[in-house]
Amino acid sequence: MAEIAAVGIVKRYGGLVANDGVDLSAERGEIHGVMGENGAGKTTLMSILFGLQAPDGGEIRVRDAPVSFRSPIDAMAAGLGMVHQSFKLFGLLTTWENIVYGAEPRRGPFIDRRAARDRVAELAAHHHLAVDPDARVGDLSVGVRQRIEILKALYRDARILILDEPTAVLTPPERDALFAVLKNLASEGRTVLLVTHKLHEVTAITDRVTILRDGRTVANLRTADTNAGEIVRAMTGRNVNLKIEKRPLPPGDTLLKAVDVTIGSPSGKAVVDHVSLTVRGGEIVGIAGVAGNGQNELVEALVGLRNPDGGRVKVCGRDVTDTDVARHRAAGLAYIPEDRAAVGSAGEASAADNLAMGFHRSAPLASGPFINPSAFAERARVLIRRFAIRIASESTDVGTLSGGNLQKIVVARELSHEAPALIAEQPTRGLDVGATEHIHEQLVAERDRGRAVLLVSAELGEILGLSDRVLVMFEGRILADLPQGRADEHNVGLLMAGRGAEAG
């Protein structure tokens, strides 16, 4: 008997069919992976399972009984719980308040605070989810917040737990701890649906995996009987090179240099603490680290979006400290920002306008103060073709694009600067296997052309696979500078958690 099953689910948005007869079935006590590229229909399916949206066709069954959820409240009543990618917590309330919210134990008209708190503490201990019931959620790290989300579902005694990309924000040790908890939950007879992009997670802990492509279920595999190659083929419909090929290359001149860059914070503790780094031509230098350890601020200082409180920045030998973005770019810097929608593009502007930024003051796009719209369009058409961007035309607004295609717009623009130095910040965040492979190839190609690439990523696999040298950033400082051969998941993972001594 399947604990939860979706049969022939259809969901249309206007002309777009997001789910086109999707089948999914998970047994009691099973960890079931749900994989697929962006736009394959995973998120739609999960929101239908959890009652956030109603399907246009098909049926959901819980323990073989057909159900029809009008809202998540119905889904929770049927024993489902969901941990969303972006957490839905009240930052100003405490842990226990967040967990019991909406289902508070009562004494008369009042909340029984003591009972609520005790129940939360007991639940946390039982599931080995270390949380402080009285801590204020706004002060907690993302890893702890995720545990609170899981406890929220367990407090409502969720028999079926849906986790949407749960490891995107975790360090490797936190991820391993999460997996231990999930295995424990499965052994208690709960069912876990794990939505993820990451192959190694699926192979590490799932019992079975359902793979979606273009809104259809294309495979339902027992993890033990399959391998990464087969899963990727099912997801993409083709063979994908998972290993990044890189030829040895002697490094050239230093093209990007930071000396003792320091950025203070209002609280007095430095966000970036005397960071020095050099990136030479023909070299990819990776900065590993859990998000929020000063990487953003460091990159802002390197590209000129913020002036550091101390230290110097040099691009191609030119000192550009305390100048603006325009000067940094003029000195030879291109930049793929972390947030492609909020920083890297203007969603309401056309692809032609988005691809022109930075090229709009010089020939062929401009002559003197005047711009040439047909040159804008022509340039956009060339880049759309060269980078295989899936877009209706160069006059389409880029806000309509999928994450992968929008990232290609940003990458196409920045690489076409042919700047000697490139900073790529989380370049593949949220991208599917195919798009990730494409971006990785581009970064390696830049390196092979003799350019300096600084790669900032929270994705350890990406850092280790691409970088010639790995820097690990923790609490604003660079803890280590390791050549590719000496960096592995174990020692970099420990350094990311600030445990340098154990990393040896």
Binding site: Y13, V303, A342, A346, A349, H360, F370
Partner: protein, 344 residues
């Protein structure tokens, strides 16, 4: 803050009527209901609005009314195109107006030259005053939305004082400056229409050209769509804010100068501010989010509506306030449709 808010995807291909036509249609219906309730005939009232604004005899009046209104529409539209708001049009307007009412008096015998100097200085004065608000935001973090509005009041107050006391034309009992000599007045084209309208038309075309065909216009459009993107791409946002506000304020100063040199021939306290050109212009620009062609069309539409309102009041007994009601309803409906469209 519901923990379970859903995010429906953008809707399908439903039939779309142009929102402007829909808004005008709704406004006309609501207006008709109001006229009926007040015991008049809506059709004849609307006919008077059309006749009183668009008939050959009325057209010069409409264009004359449209000149400052479209001018002030551009004043609002230029910063709005870059996501900034200039609420200080009134202050920039009176500065331009007063400068231009005084300049010709300094060049007796060369009044045409005086007028030209006056126009130039009015533009520079209005521009600098507006740029002051931008500088305040860039350098000292005073939000421009507030500072541009607040800077209006001292400008209105000081010019009012000057017109009432030191510079008052003592031969009249009114708070107004001396009459400028006939030679300094703007050349009359037809009836009330003077060369100032051509100047505003030329400025409007220039604004459209800059918006579409220059790198400065491109940078401003990108800033309006996403300022972080513009900054990341290398646009110097602070300097851009100052330049943009200067251009906006300069047009406001010129509008003040054109009213003084073309219609009133002196600075009359309150005469530039009372017709609320600044606010009608701001509404017109807001309707299209600063897109210049749309803003100019909206400005012309409001001008026709307001001019027609005078005719309607004369010919029927429906008060001209009705046209302001219509204008407000058009804006509300448009804002509502855009708001609905923007919801997640």
């Amino acid at each position: 803050m519901s923990p379970f808010s859903s995010t429906p995807k953008p809707g399908g291909d439903r039939l779309r009527i142009p929102p402007v036509a829909l808004a005008i249609g709704f406004a006309a219906l609501v207006g008709a209901a109001l006229i009926l309730v007040s015991g008049h005939d809506p059709l004849s009232a609307y006919a008077e609005i059309v006749r009183g604004s668009l008939s050959p005899g009325a057209l010069p009046d409409t264009l004359n009314w449209a000149t400052p209104l479209v001018g002030m529409t551009l004043v609002a539209a230029i910063p709005l195109r870059g996501g900034m708001v200039n609420l200080g049009g009134d202050g920039q307007l009176v500065i331009g107006g007063l400068i231009c009412a005084l300049a010709p008096l300094f060049f007796p015998g060369h009044s045409a030259f005086g007028a030209a100097v006056g126009l130039a200085l009015a533009g520079v004065g209005g521009g600098l005053y507006a740029a002051l608000a931008a500088w305040g935001e860039v350098r000292h973090g005073v939000p421009m939305l507030i500072s541009s509005l607040l800077l209006s009041y001292p400008a209105i107050g000081v010019t009012s004082y000057l017109a009432r006391f030191p510079l008052r034309d003592v031969s009249t009992g009114l708070p107004q400056t001396l009459m400028i000599p006939p030679g300094a007045r703007l050349y009359v084209l037809s009836g009330a229409l003077n060369v100032g309208s051509l100047l505003i038309a030329a400025i409007a075309l220039a604004v459209i050209f800059v918006d579409r065909r220059t790198s400065a216009g491109y940078e401003l459009r990108m800033r309006g769509k996403n300022p972080r993107f513009a900054g990341y791409g290398g646009v110097r946002l602070g300097w851009q804010a100052v330049r943009t506000m200067f251009a906006s304020g300069a047009i406001a100063g010129l509008v003040g100068a054109i009213i003084v040199l073309g219609s009133q021939f002196r600075f009359i306290d309150g005469a530039l501010v009372t017709p609320a050109y600044t606010w009608s212009g701001l509404m017109a620009a807001l309707l299209v989010n600063g897109e210049p062609v749309g803003a100019i069309v909206a400005g012309l539409f409001f001008a026709a509506l307001q001019t027609g309102g005078f005719a309607m009041q004369r010919e029927t007994s429906v008060p001209r306030v009705l046209t302001l009601v219509l204008q407000a309803i058009v804006i509300l409906f448009l804002a509502m449709r855009r708001g609905l469209g923007r919801r997640m």
